[in-house]
Subunit: 121 residues, 2 copies
């Protein structure tokens, strides 16, 4: 049950965009880009923090996307995790991750790709 | 904006429990244990796969929990990510992770703890 988990910390993102500040806009972006990356969306949940900031997840048949924004710091963390159960979804995950990055436009970033699973399961 | 992200791959879990097979049971467990770990739940989404398996996330004021079950393999992946913005939530994250592990009872496991963020944000 191998999979790939992409983790990003994005600094100096454009802080005043609707996607950074409003849950409905960020949700629409995440769902649209997941579908554009040939992922199958099976659920989602987004929460608006006051005075600002959004936390959200999109459930995928392939696993999940999770994102947290701190507009006051121009900071975003993002996870795209896909399991490669019946097919290798790595390319889809990388496509979604890059599309989200292009949308949020960080000036600096940290990135990790973690291989998960394997073994007997 | 530092944080800690705990990733688990749990093998040989009890495969026929309601929490492994049914989204409503797994959701109830995750929400209950998050609250018992002094986390603040702000949303959730769980999806039931057919013929089996569950994918779900719980949104936390502290960040998120994500879990995926494959009952046919006794396999679970779990993420508990907390940001340590105003307070250090590491102990809460570790408590939630351990409580979930005690509930799902894996016989073998892989574990990683990843420090996220830092820098200027």
């Amino acid at each position: 049950m191998e999979g790939i988990h992409l983790l990003g910390e994005w600094y100096d993102c454009a802080a005043d965009t609707p996607e950074m500040t409003h849950s409905a806009s960020l949700r629409a972006l995440c769902v649209r880009l997941a579908q554009a990356s040939s992922m199958t969306v099976v659920g989602d949940s987004f929460h608006q923090f006051e005075p600002q900031g959004v936390t959200g997840t999109v459930l995928l048949a392939e696993s999940h996307l999770a994102i947290h924004t701190w507009p006051e710091h121009g900071f975003v963390t993002i996870d795209v995790y896909v399991c490669n159960y019946t097919t290798d979804n790595t390319a889809k995950a990388e496509r979604l991750f890059r599309a989200m990055q292009d949308a949020m436009r960080p000036q600096r970033m940290k990135f990790q790709a973690i291989h998960r699973g394997g073994g007997d399961a």
